[in-house]
Symmetry: C2
Subunit: 164 residues, 2 copies
DNA sequence: TGTAACCACTTGCGCAATGCAAGTGCTCGC
DNA sequence: GCGAGCACTTGCATTGCGCAAGTGGTTACA
């Protein structure tokens, strides 16, 4: 996503920052998968992102203010990536993308369970999730409800169902 | 957007269809600008899309069921592109993209007026707009309210304000 | 009836982005 | 001290993007 500056249209500007095949995948994995380091993002990537592409996207997303990077106090060579408030506000967008894909593409059953919950929960759920992300990434107080836990539990249940 | 089939995740599938810098721009212009032919899309493109890229995107979007193409009864060499129901259901997604871009990028004032209206109107406005698109593109009955007209009027008012 | 403009693309070519595989240099555990 | 882990980087081939020019049919007008 080079800064091309094609026009001042808000949709275009969003596409200039996020309109490629990997940026939102990386944000999705940090957001819904809680992958916080380069290694986790690389090894557990559902889509098999290449290492150089991942490095490039982490750099770009950090540069344009969607991610922050800090050293891990436990492992001196590890870096922890966190979402910024701007990235957290992509939750409704990703929820809509998931809903659209669920309806108009052919998603796998297990992977669309979370999309279904997100769609059914609507804005109330998204806001609760965003509060939780602010806790996990920005140091805000822990909210009462853990949407992340709910999504994860539903996903694992679907996985178990398939394994049987 | 080649069909890469990286994973069955709905977000990934949506990105595989629409995750590039031009596909959603084309849909935006058809949807909000009512550009219905190749020539209109090319000449009035705010971002200056290249002719071969436009041809390619129209072909792809038609192939994957987001657009339909039919001859213009008035001009034998003209083709009219229409949105399908799947594309019309991208309205909330584009509205969120516009809202995010308006908040987190630096949009031009005139071009963000429509985004502001879309955001303030919320799902009720989006649904009214989708009904109108079904009239314009799918032959459904004309709804009472013309969101398209409202958006256009606000945009032109903003343009006039700038011209002064 | 000729001709100029219009229309929907296509082609050629240089450059940038993508993707794979391998490599680098530091750090941690033992 | 040494192998495994970590966060990237590098080289190279393939693919996609973007500009400019071209193509072949159609319409409008003199």
């Amino acid at each position: 996503m080079p800064q091309t500056g094609r026009s001042g249209c808000p949709i275009n500007l969003t596409l200039e920052q996020l309109g490629d095949r990997w940026s939102l995948i990386v944000i999705r994995d940090i957001m819904f998968g809680n992958r916080r380091s380069y290694g986790e993002l690389l090894a557990q990537s559902e889509e098999g992102i290449a290492s150089n592409i991942l490095a490039d996207r982490l750099k770009r997303l950090t540069a344009c203010g969607l991610l922050t990077r800090r050293p891990d106090p436990e492992h001196r060579q590890k870096r922890i990536y966190s979402l910024t408030e701007a990235a957290i506000q992509l939750v409704p967008l990703l929820a809509h993308m998931a809903a659209w894909g669920r309806r108009h593409a052919r998603p796998s059953k297990e992977l669309s369970v979370r999309a279904e919950l997100l769609e059914k929960g609507g804005p109330a759920l998204w806001n609760a999730f965003m509060d939780e992300l602010r806790h996990l990434h920005l140091g805000a107080p822990r909210p009462a409800r853990s949407v992340f836990g709910e999504l994860q539990a539903a996903y694992e249940k679907a996985l178990a169902r398939r394994a049987r």
